[in-house]
Symmetry: C2
Subunit: 266 residues, 2 copies
Amino acid sequence: MQFTDAQIAEFDERGFLFLPEQFTREEIAPLRAEAERIYALDREEVWRESSGVARTAFAAHTYSEGFRRLGAHPRLVKPVMQLLDGHVYMHQYKVNAKAAFDGEVWQWHQDYGTWQRDDDMPEPRAMNIAVFLDEVTAANGPLMFIPKSHKRGVFAAGHDLQTTSYPLWTLDRATVSRLADEGGIEVPTGPPGSVVLFHGNLVHASPPNISPWDRSIVYLSLCEVSNHIRRFKRAEWIAHRDFTPIEPLDDDCLLELARQTHAAAE
Amino acid sequence: MQFTDAQIAEFDERGFLFLPEQFTREEIAPLRAEAERIYALDREEVWRESSGVARTAFAAHTYSEGFRRLGAHPRLVKPVMQLLDGHVYMHQYKVNAKAAFDGEVWQWHQDYGTWQRDDDMPEPRAMNIAVFLDEVTAANGPLMFIPKSHKRGVFAAGHDLQTTSYPLWTLDRATVSRLADEGGIEVPTGPPGSVVLFHGNLVHASPPNISPWDRSIVYLSLCEVSNHIRRFKRAEWIAHRDFTPIEPLDDDCLLELARQTHAAAE
């Protein structure tokens, strides 16, 4: 996959690209099952909501074959290499659960704001590319983006240690209001296997999931290798310290796994 | 306005009808301003979220000329008279604020469940017709409906006195999951002046509003007159005791008010 000039222009202008159905249901199914297995693990990488259900499984690519393959999938890594114009390493890897009924809010924030403040990443030459493991609808806590909000650098933020179990640098209300009045709010929804790619400075949030449907999304935070972090304050499994360039796997790497899983179950 | 046979069949099958832009922006503008005035009043009818912002203004038709007119508007009263096949009175009247950032959840519930349990309303011959005062989007705490969930009568419910400032009879998770797996979840969104009409037994909810945009909706709960409530446990301004049939006003009643307001301001 190579982005067209029109897609690159849209990304520059709006700060994100939504790419429905980049992976088939056959490719996604084993990852969905793997997410459930991981959410049940008693590991320090798996953070929980106040109710006890999983919120985020960090670094799942280091202890799950399916998520290892997804983390080096050419349909995810190559587009980001194209946009960042260089080799990339995995700065952070999250499987975010947003469980039915219990999944809690992620307040308005910029990811690069955190990477800069906590990890001393020099420039916003890093971005998230996210894969829906479930259908995302208006009902199950979808991601909300403020288009164009990536064009103003890093906004002042407060360290929110109260709202949820996970500390987050969040923007003040006046800033969010002003940005949304200018750029609007977009809520990409679509079937499992859809992908959304967004600039490290794009302001985003997601509401609680009050629906009876789970909503897992995997986030690869990819950073251009020369832009690696300088400070190692956070745990290694939150902000990785291995800056080795990712070598994209073959395009059928997930399909192969799906077929192995399927064959093993027969 | 008279519903077509197709619309009546859709209502019977799905339990709600969404009618975009039934009122013009000129008609809605004075009501939007009036809602802000009312939210700031220190009255027992105005319930507040834990943050202090308004959650619900009950009985606003009794202390606001604009909301009085809306409560007898032929575009709202006549459709419900048609569906309930008789004269109707105002059982409850709410202006629900769902304020930007602070508006809290309404858990999954059936309105008639409350009207039966608390007010001894004999039959579900009553329903809500709601008017959007703001644009409702996927981002600002939209209503979520489970189609077909009105066909099974009143479900068991627990009295939720914890989650928000307002007590509500809410459904258990297993019931919500089963109904949503069968009927799906619909999230009507649209501009100010849009109308949604739903069966008293239709299961619905709305999530917190984490967006920077307010989202007010007015709910007329209209009951067929012979089906009036028998128990007067709740405050009169929550469950009204005046069973006088509503006489619909003229179709231009809001427009007239808008023009008076406009003229007075010049």
